[in-house]
Amino acid sequence: MSRNIIINIIRFLVLVFIQVFLLKNINLYNFSTPYFYVLFILLLPFETPNILLFALAFILGLTIDAFYDTPGLHAAACVILAFVRIIFISVTVQKDGFDNEPEPTLGIMGLRWFITYASVLTLVHHFFLFNLEAFSLSQLEFTISRVLLSSLFTVFLMLISGLLFFKRKERK
């Protein structure tokens, strides 16, 4: 349990650091900007209580906002992401049958489930993030193409990190 908490705190710090000092400067052809930090919310353990999940998502969003100078924007997108995560997990995963609090990682849940999970949640997050940022429907086409290409980039980074820290522990 305490090991889980320490791992998640370290993950939080590392992801914020990578996002703010590295990925913030990456921008392919004005279209594709990765928002890799959402991986933190994706990888929280299944057993996290809802209120903690929302609070963590809110805090993560505000931390990123402080560095991006956009108070509330990332926080709003992250809270939506947390809500979609709850729905997605309650639909696709049976609640009973895991021992010692597994996390939804690539190694435990398998490649197919993880790709679906990551792409659905990333798409939702990016969709709301870019639309809230633009705050108008006049350039919807342009915004949607930014959403799609950025999601592609983010999911790609998630898969790479998933394979880097791959621990095979298939659920029975």
Binding site: F21, N27, N30, T33, F54, A57, D69, F83, F135
Partner: protein, 277 residues
């Protein structure tokens, strides 16, 4: 009552979602419409300090380009020195000049945080109210205009760059002095701006220079960019044209904050005029 409580605990995810979402949207909308100096931005001590450390490291990587630019500016300044002109008269006279009163003061600052890839872009610099920077001052670098100061703390300031939905500055065509308004283009390209509301009498040419008009925060004649396309979206009774910006915002390292010493006097006068009408 009991049923209501059971209902709320059963669907707690949804209610929590509503609470947190409304909280973050309130923060977002409040900040956007009034630009209140809130503590969640990069001018506070913690994030500002982090950015200052990181930019110190980054500035080493860009030393070469910065040196080139400084050398170019040096040679430009040397060309204006008296000693580089051949003096062909013997007469010298001295005049105590009282005609000129200093109007603009420049404060140099280093950029410690920068973005060019969002719909609204901001910069953070390492000078603040202690060095005499105040809200509303214009910001330029040696290539052209950059933006204006919107939030000031003791040691840091946040600048709303020209690459922002709400940024508008008064501009004019360098050759025939036709006035217009410069703002950022629609397609989020950090090298393109749009010059709007130029009167129909003007005959602009591709490649003509666009400079500041002196009506807003900047002195007259600071470069903004060059006209690259005359046919953009029609604007009705006025001409609109596309401008290639002179400043490469992604490579900004040092900027000058402009303190217009007569600004308060001018604003007071114009406020008076509004009241009288």
């Amino acid at each position: 009552m009991r049923n209501l409580l059971i209902f709320i605990t059963k669907y707690n995810a949804f209610f929590l979602f509503i609470i947190f979402e409304v909280a973050s949207l309130i923060i977002y909308i409040k900040y956007n419409s009034f630009q209140k100096a809130s503590f969640i931005n990069s001018s506070n001590e913690v994030t500002g300090g982090f950015y200052a450390k990181m930019s110190e490291f980054n500035s080493y990587l860009k030393l070469k380009e910065e040196n080139d630019e400084l050398a170019r500016e040096n040679s430009g300044l040397r060309n204006q020195l008296k000693s580089s002109f051949y003096v062909d008269t013997v007469n010298k006279h001295k005049v105590t000049d009282t005609i000129y009163k200093r109007q603009y003061e420049y404060i140099v600052a280093r950029v410690i945080n920068n973005s060019t890839n969002h719909a609204n872009n901001y910069l953070t610099i390492n000078k603040g109210s202690q060095q005499g920077i105040a809200k509303g001052m214009g910001v330029m670098c040696n290539l052209g205009i950059v933006g204006k100061v919107i939030i000031v703390s003791e040691h840091f300031s946040v600048i709303q760059s020209l690459l922002h939905k709400d940024s508008q500055f008064s501009a004019m065509l360098a050759n025939n002095k036709e006035i217009g308004t410069i703002e950022w283009g629609d397609d989020l390209n950090p090298r393109k701006g749009i010059l709007k509301d130029v009167s129909n009498n003007a005959v602009p040419k591709v490649g003509e220079e666009v400079v500041t008009s002196g009506y807003s925060l900047f002195p007259t004649g600071i470069p903004i960019g060059k006209i690259s396309n005359l046919h953009t979206k029609a604007g009705g009774y006025a001409l609109n044209m596309e401008v290639t910006l002179a400043v490469d915002f992604s490579k900004l390292q040092y900027v000058d904050v402009i303190n217009n010493k007569f600004a308060t006097e001018q604003e007071g006068l114009e406020a008076q005029q509004k009241k009288d009408e």
